[in-house]
């Protein structure tokens, strides 16, 4: 068990741009932290620096109480699981799980004990004599996890371990890995490009872009209070809708205006908006698809925040419908109950839930907090 601390970590390849910039993170003992971001954001590089597979250009890395910048990977007390199962095709499951221990010259008895224990945890005891060819994708992934478990490491490092699985199996394995984490109670750092995986698996998620942490917080906080437009757009499916417009103050009332859009903001937000200096300037209104409502209750609650929309496409997902709408020339997506049936061309009104609407500074793309106190806390 171990805490992992990354203090001002930088990675720079000679003749290339900076891959990771001033990365600061404190992963608590037994915590499950997920690095998420688009391809090239530096998440794998950071994981590889924790593993010792990449040199750290600057900064300090601690695993437990020990500074490990110059410690070889084999001495860091970590185990890795990669996207590839990397199973040796001509070895049995038992031999595959034992191989790493054999290389480290563990005794036969110790290897046998560890392999059987790990097989028991993963429920693959009946597969020990099989070769990888005879396993399903999920079983192979379990064996790959088993190869890491037998090391009994202080920290598990997982790099897109589910990316080779089909969608159904991925959902199943997500839960399996979470259960495994609860059972073995070890620190996990997990890398994925899949925001659903990040949201469902992490105690905390670290959203990265261009080598920089954009936000590190619990999934719910990141979803409800994204730090900037990038996070807001990256986390959530369908993605948050963005409408570019202007904040106008008239007669003590602040209104967001864009072509064919006029949304009067709640008074409670005025102080924060003024504090941020965005009144009278260009801003971006962010609304999640589930925060635009067609029900009468919302239309009457938010009479000053109604969008006149025209349906372009309706996607029936079974339990809900994604309606692609056009509002003042902008394409947005709304998520409504499947009891409503819309055909292309239908005109409808949607009320924006102002408690959940976000305002972003159009220039910096940073979120303007709802209240001044929040803004001061962020600073």
């Amino acid at each position: 068990m171990a805490r992992v601390q990354l203090n001002s970590i930088w990675k720079k390849y000679t003749g290339d741009v900076v891959a990771v910039k001033d990365f600061n993170l404190d992963v608590q003992d037994k915590e499950f932290v997920v690095f998420v971001g688009p391809s090239g954001c530096g998440k794998t590089t950071t994981l590889r620096m924790i593993a010792g597979l990449e040199d750290i250009t600057a900064g300090d890395l601690y695993i437990g109480e020990r500074r490990v910048n110059d410690v070889a990977p084999k001495d860091r007390d970590i185990a890795m699981v990669f996207q590839n199962y990397a199973l040796y095709p001509h070895m049995t499951v038992y031999q595959n799980m034992a191989f790493g221990l054999k290389l480290r010259k563990f005794s036969k008895a110790e290897i046998d004990k560890r392999v059987r224990e790990a097989a028991d945890i993963l429920d693959i005891g009946h597969l020990l004599d099989r070769k990888p060819k005879a396993l399903s994708g999920g079983q192979r992934q379990r064996v790959a996890l088993g190869r890491a478990i037998v090391r009994e490491p202080a920290v598990f490092l997982m790099d897109e371990p589910l990316s080779n699985l089909d969608a159904k199996l991925r959902v199943q394995m997500r839960a399996e890995i979470r259960k495994l984490h609860q059972r073995i109670q070890t620190t996990v750092v997990y890398v994925t490009h899949d925001q659903t995986e990040a949201m469902t698996m992490g105690d905390r998620i670290v959203v990265m872009r261009d080598g920089v942490i954009q936000q590190a917080d619990t999934p719910q906080q990141v979803y409800n209070y994204p730090a900037n437009m990038f996070v807001a757009g990256f986390i959530g499916s369908p993605a948050m809708n963005f409408i570019r417009g202007e904040l106008i103050e008239e007669g003590g009332v602040i209104t967001f205006r864009a072509p064919e859009v006029s949304v009067r903001l709640q008074e409670g937000r005025y102080a924060a908006l003024k504090d941020a200096g965005v009144v009278g300037k260009e801003v971006v209104l962010g609304i999640r698809p589930e925060d635009m409502h067609n029900e009468e209750m919302y239309l009457s609650t938010y009479p000053d925040a109604i969008l006149n929309a025209r349906v372009e496409v309706a996607e029936n997902m079974g339990s809900e419908v994604y309606i692609h709408i056009n509002v003042g020339g902008q394409s947005l997506v709304s998520r409504v109950s499947s009891r409503y049936h819309y055909t292309p061309g239908t005109e409808l009104k949607l009320a924006v839930d102002l408690n959940k609407a976000h305002i972003f500074n159009a220039e910096t793309e940073e979120t303007i907090p709802h209240h001044v106190a929040e803004a001061q806390a962020v600073r």
Binding site: G15, D16, V18, A72, N84
Partner: protein
């Protein structure tokens, strides 16, 4: 003792060391007229002609004709290189495939352990198609023997990978040369790879990241190997890969392109887990230039330059960043994580040193090409006109 005229000395010594056999050097003109590399029996001893003034007589058996053939070709290569100033590349491509092909058809026997890559290659059961790869290990344990044994154990666990030998890396570390057989994919199935999301185990870091949606057979072989080296042996590794080898006649080209790719990666893909020859067409184009072709370009490019055309590392990074950002200064400052003013200051320094304003596409391009060529000229590997 080796002197300037003894061009055959290294070849002779390598051969003797590789096959653990002894020789006597006879430095006198032999009455019979013989060519370099010609063999004859004197008493019961095999002798080989070196030059017109020297021959070697072997004290141990060299009865195998394939062994003798290897030395003949090697001596002829060395002779050609010494007298006609053939480049390393030309020697390899002209003669190596003949050497390999001949050795294979003569059922080459197992030889004693050797680090001489060229000789070792021909004893291995390499079955094309495939390609040569070079594995670099960024850190190694103090015990070199233990380190090698560890790495070889993992490599040997992959049947489609043939360990060829260890070579010295310019950084002073050991590097392993492999042959990756891509003709069959035993145990690595297509369904292992996600059609929709592609395949991106290295995270595509770096400017030149090009990860194919569906990995090539080569990558399907190489990724599991690298992953197992990193997860089982816990050895940090990066791979450079040469051109595809369809049959034994391509072997020389396979090795040659491997060396070229290794040189290219320092500029085109330093952070990438796998760098393949041909991954960057521009690198291919530039790597084909001889000194004779490079020098006029560099001379023209340096006209009007007050300082050195070679940029310091921070200025070279600035150039890379500005190009990566499509000459957009705001984007470049974000990529380089530099304040805009600092970036502008560096751009000004580049202009005052070289005369090139890298905010202009033509200037940035010329300066970038010059950096690649200057770096090539400074490489430890021989260039085509060596």
């Amino acid at each position: 003792m080796k002197t300037a005229g003894m061009w055959w000395a290294d070849t002779l010594e390598s051969f003797a060391e590789a096959f653990a056999i002894r020789y006597d050097l006879v430095q006198e003109r032999h009455p019979a007229v013989r060519d370099t590399g010609e063999w004859w029996v004197q008493g019961e001893v095999w002798c080989v002609q070196l030059d017109s003034w020297a021959h070697a007589c072997w004290l141990d058996a060299v009865d195998n004709p394939a062994w003798r053939r290897v030395l003949t070709i090697s001596l002829q290569n060395a002779s050609a290189a010494s007298t006609r100033q053939l480049s390393w590349r030309q020697v390899v491509t002209r003669h190596f495939s003949e050497l390999v092909h001949h050795a294979l058809t003569d059922n080459w026997p197992q030889e004693p352990d050797t680090h001489k890559l060229g000789l070792r290659l021909i004893t291995r059961e390499l079955t094309p198609p495939g390609c040569f790869a070079w594995l670099e290990f960024s850190s190694q344990s103090a015990d070199a023997q233990e380190f090698r044994a560890l790495v070889e154990q993992v490599i040997d666990a992959w049947t489609e990978v043939v360990f060829v030998g260890w070579t010295d890396h310019p950084t002073g570390l050991q590097a392993a040369v492999l042959f990756l057989q891509t003709g069959h994919q035993d145990g690595v199935d297509d369904e292992d790879f996600d059609e929709e999301d592609g395949y991106d185990p290295e995270g595509s870091e770096g400017l030149a990241a090009q990860v194919p949606l569906r990995p090539s057979p080569l990558r399907r072989t190489l990724y599991p190997l690298l992953d197992s080296l990193e997860s089982d042996a816990m050895v940090p590794v990066k791979a450079t890969v040469g051109a595809a080898v369809a049959d034994v006649h391509d072997w020389a080209n396979g090795l040659h392109t491997l060396a070229e790719a290794w040189r290219e990666r320092t500029w085109f893909g330093p952070g990438q887990l796998i760098y393949e020859w041909g991954q960057q067409p521009i690198a291919y184009l530039l790597s084909g230039l001889s000194n004779g072709q490079m020098n006029p370009f560099l001379h023209m490019a340096a006209r009007g330059t007050t300082g050195s055309m070679m940029l310091s590392p921070d200025l070279a990074d600035t150039l890379q960043g500005v190009l990566a950002a499509n000459l957009n200064i705001s984007e470049a400052s974000r990529l380089l994580y530099l304040h805009r003013n600092t970036l502008m200051n560096r751009i000004d320094r580049i202009r005052s040193q070289t005369g090139y304003d890298i905010r202009q596409f033509n200037d940035a391009l010329v300066l970038w090409v010059a950096q690649v060529l200057l770096r090539r000229q400074g490489d430890s590997l021989p260039s085509s006109s060596d």
